[in-house]
């Protein structure tokens, strides 16, 4: 993947190169590039003057960051307590069966990836899942194929 260093620099600039804003910069970089590839971390390290291992430390410590590319429509299965007691673990398995990948993996066509999230704060809709930016609530396993179909390209 091509990384335009100017885009990274613009983000760093917006935050005044401040160390305190390191997490915010990395979040914005991740938004821009969908994940945090090495050249991005390298650039941030140089520009903010924080050693690369420290930047890498942050990028691996917090759950929001990913060093690997994720799918265009990442599916986040909520693992909050309310979702758990309403069957979230079985729902996760249904997504894994349907996409034939495991949690933390991305499909070969880079369309979907599966991850869990601690709580989406939509406990009233338990069990809940986000696909891309959409929240889907009160799900049954049988709903999974229909939901994923919405994001798949229409067959010609």
């Amino acid at each position: 993947m091509h990384i335009d260093p100017a885009k990274v620099d613009a983000i760093i600039q917006r935050h005044g190169r401040k160390r305190e804003h390191l997490i915010a910069m990395l979040l914005e970089c991740q938004e821009e590039f969908t994940h945090l590839p090495e050249p991005v971390l390298q650039r941030v390290s140089e520009q903010v003057e924080v050693p690369l291992p420290s930047v890498l430390g942050i990028a691996t410590f917090f759950r929001a960051f990913s060093l690997k590319p994720v799918g265009r429509y990442p599916a986040h299965i909520c693992m909050g307590t309310a979702c758990h007691v309403k069957g979230a673990p079985r729902l996760l398995e249904a997504f894994e069966r349907e996409l034939k990948i495991l949690r933390g993996q991305t499909t070969d066509d880079l369309l979907f990836s599966i991850n869990t999230v601690n709580c989406l704060g939509c406990c009233g809709l338990a069990p809940a899942v986000t696909v891309g930016k959409d929240v889907h609530g009160k799900l049954k396993q049988a709903d999974v194929p229909r939901i994923l179909k919405k994001y798949r390209p229409k067959e010609a």
Binding site: C122, G124, L125, V135
Partner: protein, 127 residues
Amino acid sequence: MPRITIEDLKKIKEEARQKMTLRSGDARARVVVHMSTCGIAAGAREVLDAFLRDAEARHLTDLLVTTSSCAGLCSREPMATVEIAGQAPVKYVDLDPAKAGRIVAEHILGGAVVREFALAAGSETAS
């Protein structure tokens, strides 16, 4: 806006308070769609759009459609509160765009509360 003093604050409060209470003459009715993360996930945005579309299609220039936050009863989202001048506000639950259309037709224009999805009348008050 210039920086305000405590006296200005009082003035703003009086003006804003008058705008908040619905009096006959100002507007026929006000619809408040409850929009927080969970409400939006349950479809509140589509409900809001339906109210706006309906108000426009029927040329209801005196119907105020606004948004506020979560009303607390997540399991019955999307929710909306309908207030007609001089009457207790009515809370509607489990809404969708079609139900929004019926609320406009029957309650706001017809004056009859749509009982099938009306939860209750009145407002929550702080104590």
